[in-house]
């Protein structure tokens, strides 16, 4: 998100999901779309059926590869050289969109210079992808326009995740594949309302609508709206909050609807942090592994028991409606937080309900200004929706980019190694992914049928690696990283390339994130969970 915000001025999907159907080519990189976003995957398949070319770039041979014209199987953590290599081919072949670069972009020369380091010999050596495939993919992407890129955590969860994202936006800017229908850069957001949470400023550096807390005008605006004095210092990011709990700098942690004991990279460390927190309040729907550590647990309702909105990955604001009464004595999250605020004698928390909250959101958030429950009754709205009569915005950057200059910014990049090196002690790379049948753990592990369809963690391992270790399909093995050890059943499959193994992280019985690496991307503070050095041992 931080990457696109700098290069394009917005971190969200530039296009609507439906627009994928109109793309002439699609590059799917770092996304196992059929498992993580099944309905978007259907759209991609529809597009292929109508003639679109599909390029899949992924270390693993994912289901989508069956539909791909080109499959680029690059080594984990080599996205920047792969994408920069494609950019260099496009430029060398003269396939760039010169008008677009001249009229809509800036900093092209520095980017062009940085491409010099990415000749095809070097790129092939680093990524392991044959040169002719890189050339083929580059030509398809540049020549089959409109071209859409979709990506997910396979791009962002790296210590150089921001660079990966910038490499993607460079490629799109270079070919003019932005600001048009079906042409764009589309980060597929993971959680149902991760877009809405970001939009609302559940982030340490921005108020609702991405208004930076460090800009005095923004601070003044919110001080006036809320009638209080506000801090002008950006807060701590997720991982740093945990560290501060560990160090005793944070005394009270109010943790809502998340299960870091399973989902956080280097989960052992995260658990230690939570245990050391003086006062931990967990607000959740289940007594999950994290809630077990709390001092106070507050029971929240699910989406089915409350009104509200979710904003999906394509910036579409949609109404969630209360279908049943709250289970037991549970309460909607907004109500619980408001009750706490009132007990702390705060003003401005006596909302009648979610509709009144949305009215306040619209009053302080420019991109949501035109959104109201009355309008959402008639249909959905994609932000930016700046006025009551504005129809919403299916694709972004049509006239100008959201950056300070209104131009798309090229970024020079260099190849940086993945966070963790393999060595003789930890000779394999572990990368994490998700199952179609689970969403993290708290909800789906409590649905019987989903656990029949996918009941346990499996370590995917290539036949060569398995036979070298004397590991047979279906047997239990020990997986150790520099941070932890788990035991897991092996699944021998050539879906994984030699030297790379993969696991999901849905099963508390096999807490994969005890293994993963929490070294952070310096800009976005995203941990590099997609590359972690491990050793697999026969039990």
């Amino acid at each position: 998100m931080a990457g696109l915000a700098t290069s394009l001025g917005s971190g969200a999907m530039t296009n609507a999901i439906d627009e994928l159907g109109g793309a002439a080519s699609i590059l799917a990189i770092g996304t196992n779309t059929t498992a993580t976003h099944p309905i978007i995957a259907l759209k991609v398949k529809d597009a292929v059926k109508s003639g679109a070319k599909l390029i899949v770039a992924n270390p693993k041979e994912i289901d989508l590869c069956q539909f791909a014209d080109v499959f680029l199987r690059h080594k984990p953590g080599t996205d920047v050289p792969l994408l920069m290599g494609m950019s260099k081919v496009i430029l060398d072949e003269g396939l760039e969109d010169k008008d677009f670069i001249a009229s809509r972009c800036e900093d092209f020369d520095a980017f062009k210079e940085s491409l010099a380091a990415f000749d095809l010999d070097t790129v092939e050596k680093i990524t392991g992808v044959p040169q002719d495939k890189i050339v083929e993919a580059a030509k398809i992407y540049a020549e089959q326009s409109p071209a859409s890129i979709i990506y997910c955590m396979g791009i962002t969860q790296h210590v150089h995740g921001t660079d990966n994202v910038l490499a993607i936006s460079n490629l799109a800017l270079l070919t003019g594949n932005l600001g048009k229908e079906s042409a764009g850069v589309n980060p597929l957001r993971g959680q149902n309302n991760v877009q809405g949470a970001c939009d609302m400023g559940s982030l340490p550096n921005v108020y609702p609508g991405y208004q930076a807390v460090t800009v005095p005008d923004n601070k003044a605006k919110f001080e006036k709206a809320w009638g209080v004095e506000l801090s002008d210092q950006a807060g701590l990011t997720h991982t740093r909050i945990f560290d501060a709990c560990h160090d005793g700098n944070i005394k009270s942690l109010y943790l809502v609807g998340e299960n870091p004991v399973l989902s956080e990279a280097d989960a052992g460390h995260a658990t230690d942090c939570l245990k050391k927190t003086d006062f931990l309040v967990v607000q959740d729907i289940f007594l999950n592994e994290t809630a077990e550590l709390a001092d106070v647990v507050l029971p929240a309702t699910t989406f089915a028991e409350k009104d509200g909105t979710f904003t999906n990955t394509e910036r579409r604001v949609q109404r969630v409606r209360k279908a049943i009464e709250p289970v037991g004595n549970s309460k909607p999250d907004w109500w619980i937080t408001c009750e706490l605020a009132k007990r702390l004698e705060a003003k401005g928390f006596d909302f009648e309900g979610p509709e009144a909250i949305m009215d306040e959101i619209a009053s302080v958030t420019p991109s949501y200004s035109g959104i109201s429950y009355a309008r959402l009754e008639k249909g959905t709205l994609q932000w930016p929706c700046p006025a009551d009569d504005h129809p919403g915005t299916p694709f972004l950057h049509g006239e100008k980019f959201g950056t300070d200059t209104g131009k798309g910014k090229f970024k020079p990049l260099e190849y940086r190694k993945p966070g963790e090196d393999i060595d003789s002690e930890y000779p394999l790379i572990l990368t994490t992914d998700r199952s179609l049948y689970h969403y993290h753990s708290t909800m789906t592990r409590r649905v019987y049928g989903l656990n029949v369809l996918d009941k346990e963690e499996l370590l995917n391992i290539h036949p060569q690696d398995a036979s070298g270790l004397g590991v047979e399909d279906g047997q239990m093995v020990k997986v150790a990283s520099r941070r932890g050890v788990v035991e897991v059943k092996a699944k021998v499959t050539d879906n994984c390339p030699e030297g790379t193994v993969s696991m999901t992280f849905h099963f508390s019985e096999t807490p994969t994130n005890l293994l993963t690496c929490c070294e952070l991307d310096p800009v976005s503070s995203t941990p590099g969970t997609k590359v972690c050095a491990v050793r697999v041992e026969n039990l």
Partner: protein, 348 residues
């Protein structure tokens, strides 16, 4: 009007879109032509031979209306003695091989075969001349979310085509020949062992009671909402019965998914009414959780928070909660607790 076609069906003047089939034009006009294998989301195959019509012309001919495009000035009749006789035989053959214990069927009153039989008329004496299948075929109940009852299957192929055309997974197909024909996974595998992803798109489209949800309870009403799993944001209609969510349907009007759902969206709702739900605030006393009422729990939390305002406090928000929940939590963190220490799992 270049994209419109004018034709006559059963003496009625009908305006159709160019490229439409006769069946689509008739159904849109409210003229029923019996059919089983037609589905608006799928390419026509003309397998059930029920939608026969007569097209007048130099050589009057009988055609399958689901595969015949409308043309300007076309004159169509949906029933003639000849068509009725052909249709009657086709329906009788289907019913003779069908488990007609309709009251026990989940699709009772919404069954397309019932509708066809109702329209064509069933003569029990004529039916009696057809020999019934001696043994019932085993039900495939291997999938945790749905059953396949071959005794109620009409071999229309809608499930096969849904899996091919919409999902591109090809998990099931026609297996065996003649009387033994059935729908099965590759190599007669069960639904659980097949490449099936359990999305349930075929269950939704099955015109009869062959594919039905397990433990299905009919909702009293539906409430329009949005799926709470991934970022696709699929529109769905929650089927409610008393205080429970009992079923979920895709919302065709939603631009995000156009009615389609995946296995989690369609069948993953049971966490809502799970027995494990937290139903009361809990306070840890001597290492053990003790139930508390809201006032006690909120007072305790507020008391602690009041002592740790500023940089000693942090909140982790939830990307599962609503936008309104998130707005309130960040406002609370900033305006009440006086810090910007708020983040959520966007990076994870």
């Amino acid at each position: 009007m270049a994209d419109k076609v004018q034709l006559t069906i059963n003496g009625l003047s009908v305006t159709a879109d160019k490229g439409m089939t006769i069946l689509e034009a008739a159904l849109r006009k409210g003229i029923y032509i019996p059919h089983l294998c037609h589905h608006r989301d799928l390419d026509p195959v003309g397998a059930c031979r029920l939608c026969l019509v007569e097209i007048a012309g130099k050589w009057t001919k009988i055609a399958i209306s689901c595969k015949t495009e409308v043309t300007e000035g076309m004159v169509v009749r949906t029933e003639t003695p000849e068509i009725n006789e052909m249709r009657q035989v086709a329906v009788e053959l289907l019913i003779a091989d069908h488990d007609t214990d309709c009251l026990k069927c989940a699709r009772n009153t919404q069954c397309q075969l019932q509708r066809v039989a109702d329209h064509v008329g069933v003569d029990t004496e004529r039916l009696a001349r057809l020999r019934e299948r001696e043994e019932k075929q085993p039900i495939d109940d291997s999938n945790p979310f749905f059953n396949f009852d071959p005794n109620r299957c009409v071999l229309c192929g809608i499930c096969v085509r849904t899996c091919d055309e919409i999902l591109n997974i090809h998990a099931i197909d026609f297996a065996f020949r003649g009387l033994k024909t059935k729908i099965a996974g590759f190599g007669d595998k069960s639904r659980l062992e097949a490449d099936c992803e359990s999305c349930g798109e075929c269950i939704v489209r099955c015109p009869v009671g062959a594919l039905t949800e397990k433990d299905y309870k009919k909702p009293t009403h539906y409430v329009k909402s949005v799926c709470s799993f991934c970022g696709c944001g699929c529109g769905m209609r929650l089927g409610v019965r008393h205080d429970q969510i009992v079923s979920v349907k895709g919302d065709i009007s939603s631009p995000a998914n156009r009615g389609r759902l995946c296995v989690k969206g369609r069948y993953g709702f049971r966490f809502v009414n799970s027995d494990e739900r937290l139903t009361s605030p809990l306070i840890k006393k001597d290492g053990k959780f003790v139930e508390a009422d809201w006032d006690e729990a909120l007072d305790l939390v507020a008391d602690n928070f009041s002592k740790n305002k500023g940089e000693k406090f942090a909140a982790i928000a939830s990307a599962k909660a609503t936008t309104e929940d998130n707005y309130v939590l960040q406002k609370f963190t900033r305006a009440v607790m006086g810090t910007n220490n708020i983040d959520h799992c966007a990076r994870l």
